[in-house]
């Protein structure tokens, strides 16, 4: 499991999230009426960290939620084993809020499309934006991120592995070959 390259160290992850938090504040002219919703699994701690940074910057508590998009995926027939559905928890009204969806890696765009469907079924936010730690390209749908920690051109034979302290005990983003992960 030797990586081809280290893409982001712990410090670089922290700096990327700090920059994204500033961009969110700038674009939305503050943090009022914002909400951060993380997509399972690693989008959830990332949303939590962004909320903490927004609180530091603006003194506003931005509510956070979690979204499982399993029931909205259009590629489940391609998954050999069945996914477990995780909890969706959005404990606030979406109406009149601008929601920032948060995920670790943006790849084909299918996860984000499913997340948009799931979110719209939960309510009618004023607007939806997308923040990702890494954009690795290869989009299959017309979807783009509003906030990107790192743009990373990749080959389809490569895997971007994001590890976060909350889920994996360490902050690190690495690039692997598919073959080395088998």
């Amino acid at each position: 499991m030797t990586p081809k390259a280290t893409i982001l160290t712990a410090d670089e992850v922290r700096r990327a999230l700090t920059r994204i938090a500033h961009e969110i504040v700038e674009r939305n002219r503050g943090a009022e009426n914002l909400a951060l919703i993380g997509i399972h699994t690693r989008g959830i701690p990332l949303a939590g960290r962004l909320a903490a940074k927004l609180s530091e910057l603006e003194g506003v508590d931005v509510p956070t939620g979690r979204l499982d998009i399993t029931l909205y995926r259009d590629d489940l027939t391609e998954i050999a084993r069945q996914p477990i559905i995780r909890e969706t928890q959005v404990p606030f009204d979406l109406a009149r809020r601008r929601v920032v969806l948060v995920d670790d890696v943006l790849y084909t765009g299918r996860t984000v499309r499913a997340a948009l469907d799931a979110l719209i079924d939960l309510g009618r936010p004023e607007g939806i934006q997308l923040a990702v730690l890494v954009d690795r390209g290869h989009r299959e749908l017309p979807i783009r991120a509003d906030y990107v920690g790192k743009n990373l051109p990749t080959a389809r034979t490569e895997v971007v592995k994001v590890r976060l302290t909350e889920t994996d005990g360490v902050d690190l983003v690495e690039l692997h070959d598919v073959e080395t992960l088998r």
Partner: protein
Amino acid sequence: MTAFTLSTSARPRHLLDFQGWSRERLTALLDNADTMSQVLDRPVRKVPALQGLTVCTAFFENSTRTRVSFELAARRMSADVVSFAAGASSLSKGESLRDTVEVLTAYKVDAYVVRHHAAGAAHLVARYSGKPVINAGDGRRSHPTQALLDAYTVRQEFGTLEGLTVAIVGDVRHSRVARSNAELLPKLGAKVVLCGPATLLPEGLAALPGVTLTTDPREAVRGAHAVMALRLQQERMDAGYLASLQEYADTYQVNESLMREAESGAIALHPGPMNRDLEISSDVADGPRSRIVRQVENGQAVRMSVLYHLLVGRE
């Protein structure tokens, strides 16, 4: 973006009974029913998980609640639903079950929900159709989704099934619900006590792991966390199983007096439809211990989860 998956490699193709269903998979099925419950509480009570698939509810025996529950569950998951009622079909013209199933399969049905008065009918549909089949009740044999929703309701109340005792009181002999619960609950860590008059209590069920039998209702419910009353089919009296309905009610009715013998927080269950004041008293059925309405509510979420487990992610 990671998909968390079940680690068991053998994935059951059907839900005919609980053979081949591991504890891990049954637990995941109940866990996912929690998510389905959340979906039912949303403004939009529908998810696209089964979009493009067609589910046929084939009921060869009268049923309202189970059929409606399955049809709603399938529609909530965005499946198309075709309903087949035996009385209005060519079966009444002499067509065999096999021919009927083969015709429906030719119409590109992706899964069947089958209820039939003959034990094993759902197995036949599975064999002839080659599609996933959910048994919605076959004769006296099995009614797995009812047992799952019963287990789910108990787990919802106590947070776990491990170490709990469920007493099932009444006409055990003719009850597919009792059989399915006796098969399922011990797999999930609960003990089952089956109780009824000796004429309605088949001794063979004592061979099931985690299951005990008694004809004494007070002994049955002592220490029980859930007490389930079974519907008494009144025609049983004509068949000589019971001396009188009144005598049955005097001894086996699940009422406040009997419930006092159970654990202090024990709940009362009934698979429905109820004969009020025969197998269960109205004060229990409508009282604070009753979870009978909750069972009906949970039925839809559990059936959504069953459809998900059988149909999603299959080639």
